[in-house]
């Protein structure tokens, strides 16, 4: 309204004002669902690990896996290398399992259905977008997976990982922890010890999954963490596009989200993994918000296999996330497209790793950072070409856009090349919005606030076009909510 009035008076709001208004936009998913939840007491020890395993009725081998991970975790220390102000988290002050209580076996609480409706994720198949199957996860359990039966006809398995452990133990056991072993890092060890639900996807040989698969993660209970685990396996010649979304209520205390995503891709198969991350980012003074500490990694095991990561990161108080590709197969392809927007006191340290082990493997990295307010936004990446991986190609571009003089944008790439037939390129730029571009738009009758929106959207466009249709709409809206909040 303010801007409209300004315009009526015949003068335009300043660019700084627009950006200032934009960074003060409220979080829209901050409500809490009042629902009966079964929360185990706070604290973490072997008994808690056993209790989680027992609650999920897990086989002995999985409990052993958890216990091994937990023992290893005890020997590790929280990493400090990120360009983040991550405080020492009190891991004994978190509850590691929270499940909405079921009213009756096989039925979903109407409150839950309503919650997910409000979030735009209808659990009722008739209402849902026909092109997308959803696994909806609230706190530590999967609430509902839609279209499972229809997918099963094609041999596609899409179910909560706890069900997969029960129904397809051999498959899960074969792949679990193979790409991200529990020894990988501090948060991976923690997740391996206490992980609760997440999705399991198996696409059999030669199947092109007919619809987008999607997981929606919601943290609802207070003083809990979410530790989901997702495992995606694409067998020879298979294809799947997988989407992930997430939100959490507004709270003054920080909540922990430490997930693992593992992807295995066989010969000529392709997995496209898209994330729109919109965890609660904390208020404008940096109170509250989610600590998003995630390990995501894909293994291109087969020749000519492909993994494509696309992420739009707008939420979380702290983001520590490096979706990576191990390009083991010859001619395998890894892609990483990212837009990371930080506002207020948010901090993001995100990027990717491309490990070239197969001959003639290729990778592309496009990372766009936008920092506003007092936020810190870092790109951290590794491109490694093994000595035997001849003929590899990498292209990396990471750009940063600074929207305030108190924010920070940083780039920390590492490149290691071990042979003479590979080509690696890296480019990075950091700048603020080009005043010439705004002036050009103004000249053509475009208001400054629209021009800023246009330029930012144009800046992020290279990544946005990689998102599946359903998500692109959501992601564009998120960006415009964040940046053009003051318009109208």
């Amino acid at each position: 309204m303010k801007n409209q009035e300004d315009n009526k008076k015949g003068h335009q709001p300043k660019q700084d004002d627009i950006l200032h208004d934009a960074v003060n936009e409220e979080y829209k998913y901050g409500f809490v669902t009042d629902i009966d939840t079964n929360v185990i007491p706070k604290g973490l020890n072997e008994d808690v690990v056993r209790q989680i395993s027992a609650l999920k009725d897990e086989p002995e081998w999985l409990l052993e896996f958890r216990l091994k991970a937990f023992r290893h975790w005890q020997t590790l220390r929280q990493p400090t290398w990120g360009h983040l102000h991550l405080p020492e988290i009190d891991y004994q002050d978190i509850s590691y399992y929270a499940a909405p209580r079921k009213k009756k076996e096989g039925e979903i609480d109407p409150e839950l259905v309503e919650t997910f409706d409000k979030l735009g994720i209808p659990l009722n198949e008739r209402k849902a977008l026909s092109g997308m199957a959803v696994d909806a996860i609230m706190d530590s359990v999967s609430v509902r997976t839609t279209y499972s039966e229809r997918l099963a006809e094609l041999g596609v398995i899409f179910c909560p990982i706890s069900e997969a452990v029960r129904d397809y133990p051999d498959l899960v056991r074969k792949y679990l922890g193979k790409v991200v072993p529990y020894t990988d890092n501090f948060f991976a060890a923690l997740n391996s010890a206490v992980f609760s639900d997440g999705s399991f996807v198996y696409i059999p040989k030669g199947v092109r999954c007919p619809m987008e698969l999607s997981s929606y993660f919601r943290i609802n209970a207070a003083q809990t963490g979410q530790f989901e685990r997702t495992l995606i396996v694409a067998d020879d010649d298979a294809y799947v596009s997988y989407l992930e979304g997430c939100t959490a209520p507004m709270r003054d205390e920080n909540q922990l989200h430490a997930a693992i995503v593992e992807i295995i891709v066989e010969d000529r198969a392709e997995v496209k993994y898209s994330t729109v991350q919109n965890w609660y980012p904390g208020d404008k003074d940096g109170r509250g918000g989610i600590y998003n500490l995630v390990t995501k990694r894909g293994l291109c095991r087969g020749d000519h296999s492909k993994i494509s990561w696309t992420q739009v990161e707008t939420g979380s108080a702290i983001t520590w996330k490096y979706p990576s590709c191990i390009l083991k197969g010859d001619y395998s392809v890894g892609e990483f497209y990212s837009v990371a927007l930080t506002r207020n006191r948010q901090e993001a340290d995100t990027g990717t790793k491309m490990i070239h082990l197969g001959k003639n493997s290729r990778s592309t990295i496009v990372s766009k950072g936008i920092s506003a307010g007092h936020s810190q936004n870092s790109y951290r990446g590794l491109v490694r070409v093994a000595p035997k991986a001849t003929g590899c190609r990498n292209y990396t571009q990471c750009d940063s856009l600074l929207l305030s003089d108190t924010s920070g944008a940083h780039t920390f790439p590492v490149i290691e090349v071990g042979n003479d037939s590979s080509i690696v390129e890296h480019e990075a730029t950091t700048s603020k919005i080009n005043e010439d571009q705004i002036f050009y738009c103004n000249q053509r009758g475009i208001k400054t606030e629209d021009a800023v929106g246009l330029i930012v959207n144009g800046y992020a466009d290279e990544v946005m076009t990689k998102l599946p249709m359903e998500f692109a709409v959501e992601a564009r809206r998120l960006l415009s909510v964040s940046l053009e909040g003051s318009i109208g």
């Binding site: 600074l402 780039t411 790439p413 490149i415 042979n419 037939s421 690696v424 950091t430």
Partner: protein
């Protein structure tokens, strides 16, 4: 025993000797250096900023240190002549870590002062007190070790408003019969509106003896001054070099630091530039040609603490055979330093399947109204260009050599000393066709 410990022990054992043969200005820095080394350790391969180099292994051999300041019974001016034709400079030799000041060169300097730190301690104690050891950071154990053991060095002082009439050439000759650590120190102070060009050349005489060249250079560029500092390394396979150059730039100053490695064993160059005044411009160039088992490791850090400055970095590597190259660079632009323009480039050619390159260009930016970018590439010669040249009858070896020379030419063209630039084109050409001897121009072995 850790590598550092042996030198700390050596110092403790010979403390009295070390201090007796050194000026007070250097002795005054030792307690802080000793304290900094307490509990310190040298970085191992794989650690942050040391991805490809093992500092512990470099310092591990039991090197001797010339604590008694034995003078060498050689006239370095006689034993070694500069082989850059028509390069008219004021030449000063340093034989290992013992500086020799030539009276002729000194006369040609005009108002510019070049003297040993021992002389400067008597002639200009205040200047030394003000600047010596101020920029060098003791949290780097190699710098602390240098500070602990350095007994002499050189001061180049250009008073306010003075322009050095000729380039100053510092010829460093490394030669030892037994494994030796050479502890060198250089302080360059350019006053307001002072202008100076300095060329440092490292040469190893003879081969087969391991020499570790541990150098710390501090450069203070006063307001509106210009300092060009070139370093040309043409040493041998048995020479290790650990060099740290610290630069402080005041308002309107212009500094060029150019590190050229044509022949070496293991080299680690640290560049650290603090820009504290507005409108300063920084040019950091580096060029490396390595083959065999040579190793060249560069770390650069440019910190912008003032607005409206520019910095430009370009490091180029050509790696052949089993050579290893590494580059870790960082540009830091602090809050409130608007209108800074910073560029950092690192271009590398891997010319053999065994060559390895590690690179890590970084930007850390805390203000919005800046232009900062970096670019890095690792690749090979352009196949199309090779093909084009071959279709015109140039044989493949010549074509490759020409393209490699062309690849290096923009770094060479950044040299602002005409004669040196021409000479570098020539030397690089010789280096690529393999005819550059380990010690060109050396009177002793006559190569």
């Amino acid at each position: 025993m850790s590598a550092l410990k042996q030198y700390i022990d050596l110092y403790n054992e010979h403390r009295e000797l070390v201090e007796r043969h050194a000026p007070e200005a250097l002795n005054a820095l030792r307690p802080a250096a000793l304290a900094a080394l307490e509990g310190a350790r040298l970085p191992r391969k794989g650690e942050e900023d040391y991805e490809a180099i093992d500092m512990e292994a470099i310092f591990a051999p039991d090197y001797g240190v010339n604590v008694t300041r034995l003078d060498y019974a050689i006239d370095p001016a006689e034993s070694f002549r500069c082989d850059v034709p028509s390069l008219s400079t004021c030449l000063f030799h340093t034989y290992n870590d013992v500086p020799h000041i030539s009276a002729v060169s000194r006369r040609n300097l005009g108002e510019v002062v070049v003297e040993t730190l021992a002389e400067a301690a008597t002639n200009r104690p205040d200047l030394l007190k003000q600047h010596l050891g101020r920029l060098a950071r003791l949290d780097d154990p190699t710098v602390a070790l240098n500070t602990l053991l350095a007994q002499d060095g050189l001061l180049v002082y250009v008073p306010d408003g003075v322009t050095a009439p000729k380039p100053i050439q510092l010829l460093n000759i490394l030669s030892a019969a037994h494994p030796m650590m050479v502890v060198r120190r250089l302080l360059v102070v350019a006053g307001e509106n002072a202008h100076v060009r300095i060329l440092g050349c490292d040469h190893t005489q003879g081969s087969g003896t391991a020499v570790l060249n541990l150098q710390v250079v501090e450069v203070v560029a006063g307001k509106h001054s210009s300092v060009d500092f070139y370093e040309l390394e043409e040493s041998g396979n048995d020479t290790s070099r650990v060099s740290s150059i610290y630069v402080e730039q005041h308002e309107g100053s212009s500094v060029l630091v150019d590190g050229i490695t044509l022949m070496n064993g293991i080299t680690r160059n640290n560049y650290c530039v603090e820009v504290v005044g507005e409108h300063a411009s920084t040019e950091l160039l580096g060029m490396t040609i390595a083959s065999g088992k040579q190793h060249v490791d560069t770390r650069s850090f440019v910190s912008h603490n003032a607005p409206r400055c520019t910095s430009n970095q370009m490091f180029k590597y050509v790696l052949a055979e089993e050579a290893v190259g590494a580059f870790a660079g960082k540009v830091l632009i602090k809050e409130g330093c608007e209108r800074v323009e910073a560029y950092q480039g690192n271009r590398n050619l891997c010319a053999s399947p065994e060559a390895r390159m590690y690179t890590k260009p970084q930007l850390e930016i805390y203000t919005d109204d800046v232009k900062a970018s970096h670019g890095t590439t690792i690749g090979q010669l352009d196949e199309d260009a090779l093909f084009y040249m071959r279709t015109r009858g140039v044989n493949v070896d010549d074509a490759r050599r020409l393209l490699m020379q062309a690849f290096m030419s923009d770094v060479i063209d950044g040299v602002r000393l005409d004669v040196l630039r021409d000479r570098l084109h020539y030397l690089v050409g010789k280096r690529f066709d393999g005819t550059l001897a380990a010690c060109t121009g050396c009177a002793i072995c006559g190569k």
